[in-house]
Symmetry: C2
Subunit: 188 residues, 2 copies
Amino acid sequence: MSRWEPDARGRLERAALELYSERGFEQTTVAEIAARAGLTERTFFRHFADKREVLFRGAGSLQDFLVTTLAGTPESVAPIDAIGAAFEAVGFLLQDREYSRLRQAAIAGNAELQERELVKLATLSAALAETLRQRGVADPAASLTAEAGVAVFKIAFGRWISDTGQQDLAQHIRESLDELKAVTAGRS
Amino acid sequence: MSRWEPDARGRLERAALELYSERGFEQTTVAEIAARAGLTERTFFRHFADKREVLFRGAGSLQDFLVTTLAGTPESVAPIDAIGAAFEAVGFLLQDREYSRLRQAAIAGNAELQERELVKLATLSAALAETLRQRGVADPAASLTAEAGVAVFKIAFGRWISDTGQQDLAQHIRESLDELKAVTAGRS
């Protein structure tokens, strides 16, 4: 095998998601993922610490992106709209619905992965609350706004991947935030 | 030892929480918990499946209580206020702040327990959303209202256990819900 591997990471990721969906996360080995991608196990471990990592490598950059976007929003924007705008920006980045769907299915089928996903979201919420506090938002408003943002994202994401229409994730996020506003105003 | 054990469960629970806080959850054995409570390991296992169970046995009844209370609220009440009232009722039940504080400290010090707590809250949110759907609330409003309720509870609970004042949990829940309403209305 050549040492030059164009997009090895992407091939491994695709192979892993296919296998997780075909035979389940637990039943898939790293050797099988590497074989499906036409690469070696050693190459796999150059890119990922383990087979869980394939599903979660994006979590850190998602959080960094959200924190940076939120921190950069003018302070004149109300916190709830600043957090809404940050998640909407994520919505524009996540365009590959089929990838997101396979990833979510793999996670839904495994308790340990679900736990890791919940921890990831809780960590994200804490980081966003801290960013809001640095913008001068007091508590509990900062924590509540962060929790509201994560809740909107979670629900919009679920609707997006089960949606058969053309609406993108950003639109779902906008809609869910509007719905949360209606709900808390007692209009829903 | 007498076969008659007045409040064996309560004594085991208190002993466990004391030990978790003194030496950490992982470093505590069931034998030590039983010894501290003046009971046998066999008695411990009559009441709890394992030492994690001591911290989570209330989760099922909390969920049942919330679902029943929410289902029994008149449909004329807006969903967000129905869920607020259900959590407030929990606030009246949970009066032992010292117990809640010790429990939270044990959970905060152990990643596995934190995961279990997050799973418990996610399960609760799903059950409350389902209850709202049965009351005729459509999605995403049902899921968003349930998530909002759990977020308010989580944050109010954290403020209550770190509070040194006299405000009870129900008051914290009322305050946090009002704050969420202010936040989503762009007033905070």
